[in-house]
Symmetry: C2
Subunit: 443 residues, 2 copies
């Protein structure tokens, strides 16, 4: 029934804790179909494909495949390459040369976009290439689907991290700021709220990239939480932005606020750090041509410094302020995996392959939630078009990704709603216990 031909599968973008589950899902399902003449893995995504670098996936036995599936990171190697139209033509030519008729690309929205272009080129050439995008992202910012494989495990990491940070902050009270990944989508930052178990638990404020803030609003919110609880745990998206949607690190408004508040020294530190970057091939400049403060801990250190200065000026007392940038562990911590996420990631790979075997069809695998409460949760995979998932046909100005839903943002825009907790909880599974001894406030 199906076309006899080879299958190729690749991985792209930032890895997740379960992206290899999807890879193994594709391979295991593909092995069941006689029409699949060979199973090739792209080495480092389309970058490897363009160089005709492949791994024969039939060379791995079931035990090896299961070990790979349980390992974070992209087992086939990943890439940050965003192919242009010309590259997509070359991708197609490599497929034709190697008699590849099934093409699976596990990645985020950029991957859906390029898969769509390759697909169009193949169609125009009258070559049957069944192109499937298999979604993965810890940012959870893909269109159409209820949620993305990779998100649940990252959200679990963030939740456990905040549970621990909150317990730590109770023990040694002060202000703790944690920067969470997610670019311009707040899904992962929002998951910090899962850390709340007992009354007074942090995070005491959640700053999401979907809302615009002034620096003053940030500082006042932190201060208010600190005054209220005698301590404060604050979740901040790495994409925190001003009221014009410019991120804090490239905001002219935040610069103006720093000057107004007598914190020019922070701007000087930005400039000095930028000059360091220049020595290694050029510093990043923001939209206004200013040097951006770079480095992994930059936003965390900036917010911690501004908070310390603000509180010292206001109360003439040094405050204990600490900040962590949660780092790569969010997307690749070994051993912290949501079971539901792992199962769904596997299912996404299996479903894409099954659908591709049905006929000359292309698409992306999405999830539809049929039932959802803590005891009973069920999602089914379904096929969506590559165009819909990549948002390629959206009118100009419309977002080609999915921000955190409005209904999930509450608490004067610095918190999530109970509805969000109900939505996210089944994706995470069980969290560790959190027992608290009620203590008098320490001031």
């Amino acid at each position: 029934m199906s076309t006899k031909g080879k299958l190729v599968v690749g991985q792209s973008g930032g890895p997740t804790a379960v992206i290899n589950q999807s890879l193994v899902g594709v391979i295991q399902e593909a092995m069941k179909h006689e029409s699949v003449g060979g199973i090739l893995g792209m080495v480092h995504g389309v970058e490897g494909l363009l160089k005709e670098q492949f791994v024969d996936m039939r060379g791995l036995n079931a035990k090896q495949l299961e070990a790979v599936a349980a390992t974070p990171g992209a087992g086939l190697g990943s890439c940050r390459f965003k192919p242009k139209e010309e590259d997509c033509k070359n991708i197609f030519e490599v497929c034709r040369k190697h008699d590849i008729h099934y093409y699976f690309y596990i990645g985020g929205n950029d991957s859906a976009l390029s898969a769509g272009i390759v697909n169009k080129i193949a169609r125009a050439a009258g070559y049957e290439l069944r192109v499937f995008h298999v979604p993965k992202t810890i940012d959870n910012d893909l269109l159409v689907t209820d949620h993305c494989p990779g998100y649940g495990s990252a959200a679990k990491y963030v939740a456990q991290c905040f549970m621990g940070n909150d317990a730590d902050n109770r023990a040694l009270p002060g202000i703790k700021i944690d920067i969470v990944m997610g670019r311009n989508a707040g899904w992962l930052t929002a998951a910090a709220a899962l850390a709340r178990v007992n009354p007074g638990d942090g995070p005491h404020a959640v700053f999401l990239p979907e809302r615009g803030y002034t620096l003053k609003q940030f500082l006042e919110t932190v201060d208010a939480a600190y005054q209220k609880h005698g301590r404060a745990v604050i979740a901040v998206s790495e994409g925190i932005a001003d009221t014009d949607s410019n991120t804090f690190m490239e905001s002219e408004k935040v610069r103006a606020e720093l000057k107004e508040m007598g914190m020019d020294a922070i701007l000087d530190a930005f400039e000095a750090s930028g000059k360091v970057e220049d020595l290694s091939g050029g510093a990043k400049r923001d939209a206004f041509g200013h040097i951006q403060l770079s480095g992994s801990g930059a936003l965390a250190d900036f917010l911690a410094s501004a908070t310390k200065i603000y509180l010292y000026k206001k109360y003439q007392k040094k405050a204990r302020v600490r900040a962590d940038t949660l780092g790569y562990a969010q997307r690749s911590m070994a051993g912290v995996v949501s079971e539901t996420d792992a199962l769904e990631a596997r299912e996404a790979g299996v479903a894409a392959t099954r659908i591709a075997m049905l006929g000359d069809i292309d698409g992306s695998v999405c999830f539809r939630r049929l039932e959802s409460n803590f005891d009973k949760y069920f999602c089914e995979p379904f096929r969506a078009s590559l165009e819909d998932v990549s948002g390629v046909n959206f009118p100009a100005g419309m977002k080609q990704y999915r921000p955190l839903d409005d209904r999930f943002i509450g608490g004067n825009d610095v918190d999530v709603t109970p509805e969000f907790i109900d939505w996210v909880r089944p994706l995470i599974g069980d969290l560790p216990p959190k027992g608290v001894i009620e203590l008098p406030r320490k001031d």
Copy 2:
């Protein structure tokens, strides 16, 4: 047999994932002894005791106690207070006033030291106060004992984090530098080596505070690993120091090297950051009066910048260098706990209490390793004197903490020995699987 009187228990210093196990161990054992007239918890350690702030621990039922035991952070609250002789007198007076005859302090070496002083004062006053130190530290730097409760869970976190970071780095090759806690002891940084499962796995170099390095040696080591593997994962202790034992961030030698290598811009960035700190009550100065680069990500960003500049100058090509400071999750991540560590932390609390009930005796609980291999491991608790554990009677110049053993340092001082892996493995327990697909090198 025992003196009738109240028991007080407190927690001090940086929390760990299992410090509450020790707390619950003390309480559960104390409840079995009729001679214990009451069980008081110090609120935020001796700071609370001095203010006579106590929690009645009998108010918590078994279920609540178990929930607290399983929670990271110090449930009673902690403090960073290092009591002076005068404070210790006051601590004793509060004990006498409240009819406290059993005194348990869960903490690091400072806690052993202050417990010893309180003990002496009580003896001089002819008041029977049985003083026990219960060890906890993720740094594992206590004297006498084989290892400390708290270390195993932190080491497990570090190992899993490096497993994931290594998988991530395989997927997107570049240089990844991770800064690990441990102050001037390298035990926790050394645990990163547990992440190696398959050939070529990182970390590819481990920089320990027990050895002195030049900045040039650091950069050359990173470069060599990068050239050899086409990628590099580097573990660096937060206490990385020069050949005079001054940490990199306060080293005159490193400053001189930066100038020599044309990286003065990094020194300027130090100065600019220091001026930011001045606005919040004063910047930290190093031993030479220079402003120290502060902030959570400072060392990571500094090493990443120096590496980028070094490689750009050498190869005229921008390198992908990322750095994470592993952060507070190392000591307080919820859900990442070594079972062995949790059991031993409980046992330490139980053992201290049991021994204290035997007679008028004081001390600290240590562990002696009787058997150790992967299948069979057994440690027994024993009593050591407060003086021996705190190192208070050591001759001047001798270290009052335990650095990583020489026999555990190898690989030209930038790695651990196989002997270390054998030593540490039973403390961690099982690690998640790590499956790898062999890929051609990406350059």
